[in-house]
Symmetry: C2
Subunit: 324 residues, 2 copies
């Protein structure tokens, strides 16, 4: 277990219990698919954030575990639908649910998990936390449509467009997970805003590294297929930076690969070589290091238990180091 | 406009405003798809129920319109996902959203509408109403999986199994729509339970008649394709009753049609003729008349404004008469 989970170990066990309890269904298939996904070795980063951000202020009730479980369910529901939309075949070292049970089951079980997440939020009893998480859900769903539309436009994205996509795709739920920890611990708006901003930085780092590992990771280490984003034609930060650095000829090659769908194993290798040539990984590490420093600085402004602050720092540091 | 909408006319306008307000999105596609669905001439029965059940007790706030709009959004989100799962091509006299924009868009816009529905519930400010509607959402999603599993089992259903399916598919949201009207008007549990039970009866009648019109309706009157359920191989009440009445030879024919997927225009006509032969429509009308009488009796036990009681009766009567 990672260090930053130690101080919330017993609460994480409680979150797991709550998760299993809310996966129960009279219909076996619902339970089987939900368990397959929820128990598939995800690192439970999002619920850990809620527990850490409530623990920061000495929160002692039960509601933070309920909100943490709800956050994980929103995440799981999103994954189920994402994998259908992206036609993904592998996630966390196993075949995706849509590959095993079909798209229809994934859509409906996703809806079930999403509804169960709201039941848990209701149980937590905080309208303010509910409000924060339902707003996050809407932003996530909207962002998925934006990503679909961008993909269909078949054009290079600006860094700003990419930042917007990863915000709604990942950073929004990270930041809501942090903020509801503060909300449930009755912190004031100013503090909650800092938790929210910290979550945004962490989520951005997390997604950027994920997108980077799609080109630089090793099969068998990243839990999905290397090159997934490439073969789906997704424009991510490595490609945007490469495009900026590339010659006219290389740009033509990237245009063909991404917008005329000429994506083969050979072209994937060529992209990887070009990324090496222009030292894109170095550029990305500079970028995430800046975000990490901003995250650290936010944490230092939050008046909470230093043990928890340090755990959040470790978590951010770990997220940023995955590509090293 | 139907009579029963007259006493809630101004509130229905407010619900429409809220609906349009919450369809807004920076991403045009989200707005276009949402509007296509929500403005496609649905009768807004479910939000009307919430308004009528709050009006029963003289409710004067704003929250019932928010809950009513939320109920319509849950319904719309469910329709978007259903049409993907059922591969439906026509609904309410127009091509389904998945036909026009593809399955991926329908899945994601459904998620967006679902999230927006929770935002509106949060705005309404009643944890109890939120709890009731999130429970309904989970039951609806679970029921959809049950329906999918039953379909894959390729066997005749019992009436009890059918009743369970239509409960989660339709009656659950009708009953929640009614009950949150009472909840927001601060009625006690006993009254709210009666509203809930009334909604169950109404929803069951509504779905049974819908399923019946799939065989007995006239193209151009029911808003979707006649025979849709048949061609999808869905086992509905007309088929269950026909199977009970049929000879061994006729059962063999039904088995082939539904479980060996031998469904053609010719076999559809043969099913329609067999339904006539055994007077199945008459049997169904007996069944829905009993449900209608039970619904009326429940309404008479509810201590509320007689004008509203009468509107609810009219609504139930109208739902039951659609197949006449």
């Amino acid at each position: 277990m990672k260090n930053y989970y130690k101080i919330i170990e017993s609460e994480m066990l409680r979150v797991n219990e709550l998760i299993l309890l809310h996966l129960r269904s009279e219909e076996k298939l619902v339970e089987v698919v939900s368990k397959y996904l929820v128990n598939s070795g995800g690192k439970r980063v999002r619920p850990a954030l809620t527990l850490l951000c409530a623990g920061l202020f000495g929160y002692k009730g039960e509601s933070h575990t309920k909100l943490a479980a709800a956050v994980e369910f929103i995440h799981a529901a999103t994954l189920l639908h994402d994998d259908v939309v992206d036609d993904s075949s592998m996630r966390r070292f196993q075949a995706t649910a849509n590959t095993v049970w079909g798209n229809k089951t994934s859509i409906l079980v996703g809806d079930f998990l999403f509804s169960q997440s709201f039941k848990m939020m209701v149980d937590a009893g905080s309208i303010e936390a509910l409000s924060r998480l339902s707003a996050a859900s809407a932003i996530i769903a909207e962002g998925e449509v934006v990503q679909l539309v961008r993909l269909s436009e078949k054009r290079m994205l600006s860094i700003q467009e990419y930042e917007k996509i990863i915000h709604s795709k990942t950073a929004e739920l990270f930041s809501a997970a942090c903020e509801v920890g503060g909300i449930i611990a009755l912190q004031d708006q100013e503090v909650n805003k800092k938790l929210c901003e910290f979550g945004v930085k962490l989520g951005a780092v997390f997604q950027i590294i994920d997108d980077t590992l799609d080109y630089f990771g090793k099969q068998g280490e990243i839990g999905k297929n290397i090159g997934d984003d490439f073969y789906e034609g997704k424009i991510t930060l490595p490609i945007i930076l490469l495009y900026k650095a590339a010659t006219i000829e290389e740009r033509k090659f990237l245009d063909d690969a991404f917008f005329l769908d000429e994506r083969t194993e050979v072209s994937f290798d060529q992209v990887c070589q070009a990324l090496e040539k222009y030292n894109i990984k170095h550029e990305i590490i500079n970028y995430t290091t800046k975000l990490t420093a901003e995250g650290f600085s936010l944490l230092e402004q939050i008046p909470g238990d230093k043990l928890y602050i340090n755990s959040l720092k470790e978590l951010l540091h770990h997220a940023a180091s995955r590509a090293n």
